[in-house]
Amino acid sequence: MSALRHGYVTAALLGMFWTVTVAVTVAVAMSFLTGAPFRPSLLLSITTGALAGVGCLRGRAGIAVAAVGLLAIGLLGLGPVQTGEVGLFSDAAGQALAAAAAVLGLQSFLRGLPFGRLTRHEFEEAIIRFLTGFGYVFFTAIVAIPFYVMVMTSLKNQQQLVQNPLDFSIDLSRGWNLFDSYVELMTVFNFGSYLWTSFYVAVLTVILTLAFSIPGAYAVARMRFRGAAVFSRSILLIYMVPMIVLALPIYIGYSMVGLRNSVIGIVLIYPVTTIPVALYMLQGYFRGLPAEVEEAGLMDGLSRLAVIWKITLPLSLPALASVSLYVFMIAWNEFLLAFMLLDDPSKFTLTRGIASLDSSEIPRQHLMAGSVIATVPIMAIFLGLERFMTRGLTAGSVKG
């Protein structure tokens, strides 16, 4: 361990790891952007990376030498990123990107590190800075790539997809024809109506859930009665019952009553799946409100129900917003029940509609366009109200 704690050893090691990371990232990114062959070379990355790492310890001159050196051998074809048949411009852009990312990263990881022996603090801080940089690249890549693929595939046509599965560049000359899949989904596949069904089912679910869970959560959080603790636990237990276990008898029951294949049946069942979650989140929030305010209301002659309506609810608007958002998300994304209970295409929700696109006769850019249609609204709502969402998710569920 102590052999590692020398400036040049640490710098060389971090240089290797970071250059490999950068090479892989740049190769993947350039391949996805241009469709041309970019390839990281493990051996060259390690050797050039180690050298660049040591160079970055040698002040500004060293950093400059490392940057120019990486770029030069990259352009000569011996750098961390290898290219096949690539245009001059994209080759230069890729090599410059790789060299810049490698050197900028390294000089910030190795800032202030001496060449010789390191103290434990210096060593660990350099490692942590490297892990942080690596983490940002890693997480952004794993989150962004699937969504990028989803959007770009939906803008292609069958021929382009088969020709080069790597090519995600957009052919702007197609103009509005880029959105052919979307137009077809909306006109031929009736996605407009699915969108509307999903929307009102989700809104009705939110309203019904709140109507049931607000009084229940208040009772559990504030009132003393026998069985409150047992009740609070059984909510959590119900929250954990797997949906597939319930879906089977619900399917049988609905088949017998004739509610299967109807939107009413779906609207009846969705709130029940969300009430336990909502109740659990809300009671956590209600517990956190000061009881004195409510007691003051009671002393001034309000009834309990009036206290809930006039004092508790206005105070818990943020919690109501986050619970609504969360419930909306669950109802919008719900797949299993819609899949099992709905057969008639005129009553499909969006998720059920996408499931019906999963067949070998329907081209897969349609499937991806459907996925984009389902994902974009929930993402937009979520990004706009992200603050509520994160707070709501954590508020009720961490502290019981």
Binding site: V143, P215, M240, L279, N333, G370, T390
Partner: protein, 410 residues
Amino acid sequence: MTDAVPPKGRGPLARREARLAWGLLAPTVAIVSAVVILPLLAIFWISFKPVGLADLRPPAPVVRESLRGSGDDLRLQYRLRNSSRDIAISGVTITDTLPPGLSVRQADSRCDVSDGQIFCDIGDLKPGGRDEIELSVAADRDADELGEEAESSAPSVSGNAPNILTNAEFTLENFARIFDGDEFWGVLGVTLFYATVGTIGALVVGLFAALLLDRSFRGQGVLRGLYLFPYVAPVIAVAFTWVILFDPFSGSANALLIRMGVTESAINFFGDRPLALIMVTIFEIWRYFPLSFLFILARMQSIPEDMYEAADMDGASPFQKFWFLSLPQLLGILSVLFLLRFIWTFNKFDDIFLLTGGNAGTRTLTVSVYEQAFAVSNIGAGAAVAVVIFGCLLLFSAFFFKVISREEGL
């Protein structure tokens, strides 16, 4: 003068409060028990019954009415059929109203006719059996028109058949069938691997992400929002994206790997035996790390800053601070999250169903509920698997409540 003593027992105020509380809870209790408790009881009931998908429609007599012949040979005909090929129906009767203008001249011996009402007692109908009743009638209007009228008013028909769902026939065959052979243990093993590795993976990755974002910088909010995407997007959308991305023939991942020289030929990520399970588990980690990351981040930000200052004064290095300070502080939330996520992953159905459909060695218990009930059409066996899942759930949650009451004081 008597001494003032504190009231004993429950006073009227306490009782009123309890009444109000139950009043507020009543709607929730009612609807939740209707949709959760009843189905659970139903699952237990069905799991002991030999029920197939076809038995959901109980056997019933089916009747078709038609007016045949012409002139003097005009006959009203009822054709009966037993909808089931296996079960007999007893006490079958038909009731029908004659359309005005039609009068019965001679009735079948099993029928009674009075005031234009026909009542026929057919008796028993064998499994898959057919029967026919003819009444010769006289028409005083156009026969075609009358025929249409007669056929448009459906006769009512009744009969008793044993309904497999409600009779007292029980069997242990469902359980014998699912526990029989190695398949069940294989499925259980897959489920445990998926739940354990998926949960631990999501926790570790989530912890890493939380450590990254536990500082304030510009764009922190945007990154946090971005990292939550996998959890927020509809499962069906992201699952299909993964399937297309890793497609063995035209997937981008394979094209990339081949071009980079990692592999010679395309890899069938969701179709080969150990690989499919690993991919499904990675998907689970990818989709649920945001959840653990949110909870861990929330807990991290509530660790008091002065503890770190004290550690700094004592000369603790960054790794030591993480290992001896942050981690013990986070242990509570990590254990709660582990149990909760373990239970949820154990119960997960959609993800695997959409990615592989339970093929290539990725069949978990929940997927086999669906397989048994709908693919093999054996609802009884599906229910039996569901009962096994529920048993596991009770076991886990008993453990969970023990831990959570220690950690969170619930």
